[in-house]
């Protein structure tokens, strides 16, 4: 079976997700300006410990190999280690994303003693100035301190997770060197206009010239960095980047949010992409296998406005979330289309309504002033 046939099969969906993202709380001590889930305050409806464990039991029965736990800041939950241990007991691997605040020496040792745990520490700048402009004052120091604790606890290879933006794109070599110095692995992902990212998108998303810079860096560093397969929109620039190069939303991945709602992917927390809830009759399994939304996402793609472009097979029209939250149609080109087709559409549009995320748990005071981009 060729790689293309495999991708075609995966696009039709599989019996259970390969992995899924589970954001276990909307609470966060930080207030990053690009937060994809607009986190800040806890939601009173968040799953209880017992409900969370029931979700894990269901994922075990589905043979979901691993889950990506995020938030919010997941370590804020009092039962964080309970959840981790329940996952481990049921042979579900856990990768969790954290800002590092709560990884003190004791927690680092506890994490190091667990077998199926991967940790991603978020860092969006190689220095405090670059990082803290996005993630908030003091966040660079907290992340570095967490890395130091993990190293001292002999945790092994943790990951440094960078959302590539306009101001850190020149630091990719430095990030790699930092990761190497810790024996860590570098993970780069694409900035999306999701959550508060909609407000910071215009200031943060890489320029057209920088897109090529990212592409070339990724081509040169190949398999030594993780990307979560998130840069396939760049493939129209040349050879394909490593990975499956397809949108996995509702096909091989999905999101469970802190209150148990199931969305197509972590970047589309909006009613239009809500498939159901783990509280529904039949639970998560039923949502994954039968929800109208997921079944429709598994239908053949329509190339839409990209039909006449020869590159659709390589870039797949880009990212659904990036289009949706910039006000483009789902079969329009990606707003960061490397050939500029998306930007042309954005420039042409006179009045375009930008959808707002359904959930917003941001705290009242913002660390930076968002740009008003609700109507273009």
């Amino acid at each position: 079976m060729s790689a293309n046939t495999l991708v075609a099969q995966l696009k039709q969906g599989i019996d259970a997700p390969i992995c899924l993202t589970w954001e276990i709380t909307y609470a966060c001590n930080l207030q990053c300006i690009h937060c994809l889930s607009s986190s800040g305050r806890r939601d009173p409806r968040e799953l209880t410990t017992r409900q969370a464990k029931a979700v894990l039991d269901e994922l075990r029965d589905l043979q979901v190999f691993y889950i990506n736990i995020g938030g919010g800041e997941p370590m804020i939950r009092q039962d964080f280690f309970d959840i981790l241990e329940h996952a481990e007991m049921n042979n579900i691997g856990v990768k969790f994303s954290t800002n590092g605040t709560y990884i003190n020496a004791a927690n680092a040792r506890r994490l190091a003693s667990m077998e199926y745990i991967d940790i991603q520490i978020s860092l969006d700048g190689i220095d405090a100035a670059t990082n803290d402009a996005v993630r908030g004052v003091g966040s660079y120091a907290l992340a570095r301190q967490a890395m130091d604790h993990l190293r001292e606890a002999n945790f092994g290879q943790f990951k440094i997770s960078v959302v590539v933006n306009r101001h850190n794109v020149d630091q990719l070599d430095d990030f790699k060197a930092l990761a190497d110095s810790y024996g860590a692995q570098l993970r780069l992902t694409r900035l999306r206009p999701s959550g508060r990212g909609a407000d910071s998108w215009n200031d943060l998303h890489p320029t057209q010239v920088q897109q090529r810079q990212i592409y070339e860096w990724l081509i040169n560093h190949g398999d030594t960095v993780l990307t979560g397969d998130s840069f396939f929109h760049l493939n129209a620039l040349g050879q394909a980047l490593p990975g499956l190069n397809m949108c996995g939303a509702g096909r091989v991945v999905c999101l469970i949010d802190p209150i148990g709602d199931v969305y197509a992917c972590p970047f589309v927390i909006h009613d239009q992409f809500k498939a159901g809830s783990v509280h529904d009759l039949g639970g998560f399994t039923h949502v994954w296998r039968n929800s109208d939304l997921f079944l429709s996402l598994r239908q053949p793609d329509s190339a839409g406005a990209c039909t006449s472009c020869g590159n659709y097979d390589s870039c797949q029209g880009g990212c659904m979330a990036a289009k949706f939250f910039t006000g483009l149609a789902l079969d329009d080109p990606d707003p960061e289309c490397v050939l500029g087709h998306g930007q042309q559409l954005l420039d042409l549009a006179t009045v375009k309504l930008i959808p707002k995320p359904t959930m917003d748990h941001s705290r009242g005071v913002r660390l930076s002033t968002p740009r008003p981009i609700s109507v273009r």
Partner: protein
């Protein structure tokens, strides 16, 4: 090491297999590698590697025609190099 039809293999105990319409997914909880087994026959061979004396015996037992053996040897080589299976 070189892989031959006479080698005896087994699935690494840290690997979990999940059947899918296209074959199966194999996930290694140690090195976190995910591998797509893209044909039901490959899945059957991988499942039964430890059941028989050699790779050739497994292929025979599963009923894989000898014409196809070379492609199974290379599939097994690649699974071995990613530590999904090991020599026993």
């Amino acid at each position: 090491m070189s892989i031959t039809l006479d080698t005896a293999f087994e699935l690494d105990p840290r690997v979990s297999l999940r059947t899918e319409p296209f074959g199966a997914l194999a996930y290694h909880f140690g090195n976190r590698k995910l591998v797509f087994l893209r044909h039901p026959d490959v899945v059957a061979v991988v499942r039964d590697l430890a059941k028989y004396q050699t790779l050739a015996d497994t292929l025979t037992a599963i009923g894989v025609h000898q014409d196809r053996w070379p492609s199974f040897v290379s599939a097994v080589e690649s699974l071995h190099s990613s530590d999904m299976i090991r020599v026993r």
